[in-house]
């Protein structure tokens, strides 16, 4: 294992110290491992809280700031945060208009956020609504699994819902919007290499040279199938086809090509070109795009493609100012 770390046990704490030092407009609660926007709680605004295992940076801590999240809880690498963290985050962002929990659909995340919501309900009058993101089309049969995993749509959802909350919309409306976005987004990923969890010290799985895993999860969970490495145009096809087979997309989508951590931007643009060409042939116009490593899996090489069916309202909220370490425009 070659990593720029001090001690594997301190990775998350050390990275949070770095975030606090690099971004003085954020406030980091080091004891609870929660990143807050510096002016939280914002009075009268719905508070947006997300969180999950570390190792996916910039998600979620890098999406804290005006126009996006109010707080993010950082768990150990690939391990859900604990309810105490989520309670601290929820109480810290409650500006009197309630709090939305944005949870990716993983067993641990869902249960810990559920317990946190119960604790908040028992301890205070803060109203909490939870929205679970499950957009990964790689998981086909949710009857026999823990259901679809939350992946790329989460990033787009946090941006768009963040803009809606910033406008002062009430909790119920913000939650409805979040559910609508989850329902309108689909993702599919591919891994070219494994990743190494610092505490484990060795690669999570074995992926031989010349092979790739189609449908990979962001923690190295297995995908749909293992196939020989192929040119980007074929890989793009393998990612976009199952997305289009799962939901009908029409003109005006947000197209997000996400790097998993070890793939350079050069290659992500190669993939984007192929995705754009496939969508053009399918008569699906791209209204907005996002290309880059926004939801990573440590140093895994590979990418994911997310399509979100947008409309005028979603596009207006997408274009609204955002000012976070990970996404920043119009601010």
């Amino acid at each position: 294992m070659k990593k720029l770390i001090n001690d594997p046990a301190d990775v998350v704490a050390d990275a949070l110290r770095g975030m606090a030092a690099a971004h003085p407009r954020l406030r980091v609660d080091h004891e609870n491992r929660v990143v807050f926007r510096g002016d939280a709680p914002v009075q009268g605004k719905v508070g947006l809280v997300s969180g999950g295992g570390s190792g996916h940076e910039p998600m979620h801590g890098g999406f804290v700031g005006p126009g996006m999240l109010d707080a993010a809880c950082a768990g150990e690498v690939f391990t859900s945060p604990v309810p105490d963290q989520m309670v601290a985050a929820t109480q810290g962002v409650d500006g009197g208009a309630g709090v939305l929990h944005i949870v990716k659909n993983y067993t641990g995340d869902v249960m810990n956020f559920e317990m946190a919501a119960e604790l908040v309900a028992a301890e205070s009058g803060t109203e909490v609504v939870t929205v679970v993101v499950d957009d990964d089309v790689a998981v086909t049969d949710s009857l026999y699994t823990a259901g679809r995993r939350g992946v790329g749509t989460t990033v787009l959802l946090e941006k768009i819902v963040g803009a809606a909350a910033e406008e002062g919309r009430p909790l119920a409306a913000v939650a409805d919007l979040a559910r609508r976005i989850d329902d309108s987004g689909r993702s599919m990923g591919v891994a070219l290499t494994s990743c190494t969890v610092p505490a484990a010290g060795k690669p999570t799985f074995d992926l031989p040279e010349g092979e790739m895993e189609i449908g990979i999860g962001i923690h190295g969970e297995p995908g749909r199938r293992r196939v020989p490495l192929a040119p980007a145009r074929e890989v793009a096809q393998m990612l976009v086809e199952p997305i289009l087979a799962d939901r009908e997309f029409t003109d005006g989508v947000i197209c997000f090509v996400n790097g998993l951590g070890g793939t350079p931007l050069l290659e992500l643009y190669v993939v984007y070109a192929e995705v754009a060409s496939i969508l053009e042939k399918a008569g699906i116009g791209i209204a907005r795009s996002l290309v880059g490593p926004y939801m990573t899996s440590l140093e895994m090489a590979g990418c994911s493609v997310t399509l979100l069916q947008a409309d005028d309202e979603l596009l207006r909220l997408w274009d609204a100012p955002v000012d976070t370490p990970g996404l920043r425009w119009g601010a």
Binding site: F78, T79, V82, M111, T145, A146, R149, A200, T204
Partner: protein, 192 residues
């Protein structure tokens, strides 16, 4: 149930988890995310320390302290599941061990929404509760939990991260059922 006995049970469970930490993690590497041994060891070490620092006055308080400590320290799926088990046991501590464990089991079912046969801790805990409810001994309950663990080997996982493996999850014991069998073994050794 008195607080000293329960504390001895939890200390023994912590010892067994620590001894078998690497085996639990190896099982979890095969079908999950390779953290069950280290997470449970961290959680139970914290439980033993918390109980030693301020020994609770009654059985319910021991169980509650155990549950809240696990929820706060473990994370992942096992934190809420084991935490809920002990918190629900605390709420039913007056009736004795068997009804308390049954209440804990029902809490686990509600929290995890798993059913028997999904290849989870339910497959070890359920049979142990059935034996105790039928008047069986703790040793018999521990055996039922161990048999339940063994019975998870050929199963295909339907819950948690292991479920994404589909058929590839068969052939390994479930890590959660394995740690639950240790919990019942510790009970047989300390509470009989």
């Amino acid at each position: 149930m008195n607080p000293e006995q329960l504390t001895a049970w939890l200390q023994r469970f912590a010892e067994l988890v620590h001894e078998q930490k690497d085996e639990l993690t190896a099982l979890d590497s095969a079908i999950g995310d390779a953290d069950h041994g280290s997470n449970m060891d961290r959680g139970m070490t914290a439980v033993v320390a918390a109980l030693a620092e301020a020994p609770p006055a009654d059985a319910a308080a021991v169980l509650k302290k155990t549950g809240t400590t696990l929820v706060s320290k473990v994370g992942g799926a096992s934190g809420p599941l084991y935490g809920t088990l002990f918190l629900r046991m605390a709420g039913a501590a007056d009736g004795g061990f068997a009804p308390a464990l049954r209440a804990g089991f029902e809490g686990v079912l509600a929290r995890g929404k798993a059913e028997p046969g999904d290849k989870t801790m339910v497959d070890a805990l359920g049979p142990a509760c059935d034996v105790l409810d039928a008047g069986g001994s703790l040793a018999e309950a521990a055996q039922a939990a161990a048999d339940g663990r063994d019975a998870t080997v050929p199963l295909v996982a339907r819950k948690g991260r292991a479920s994404y493996l589909g058929e590839r999850s068969a052939g390994h014991a479930d890590p959660g059922a394995t740690s639950t069998a240790l919990l019942l073994r510790a009970a047989a050794e300390t509470l009989s």
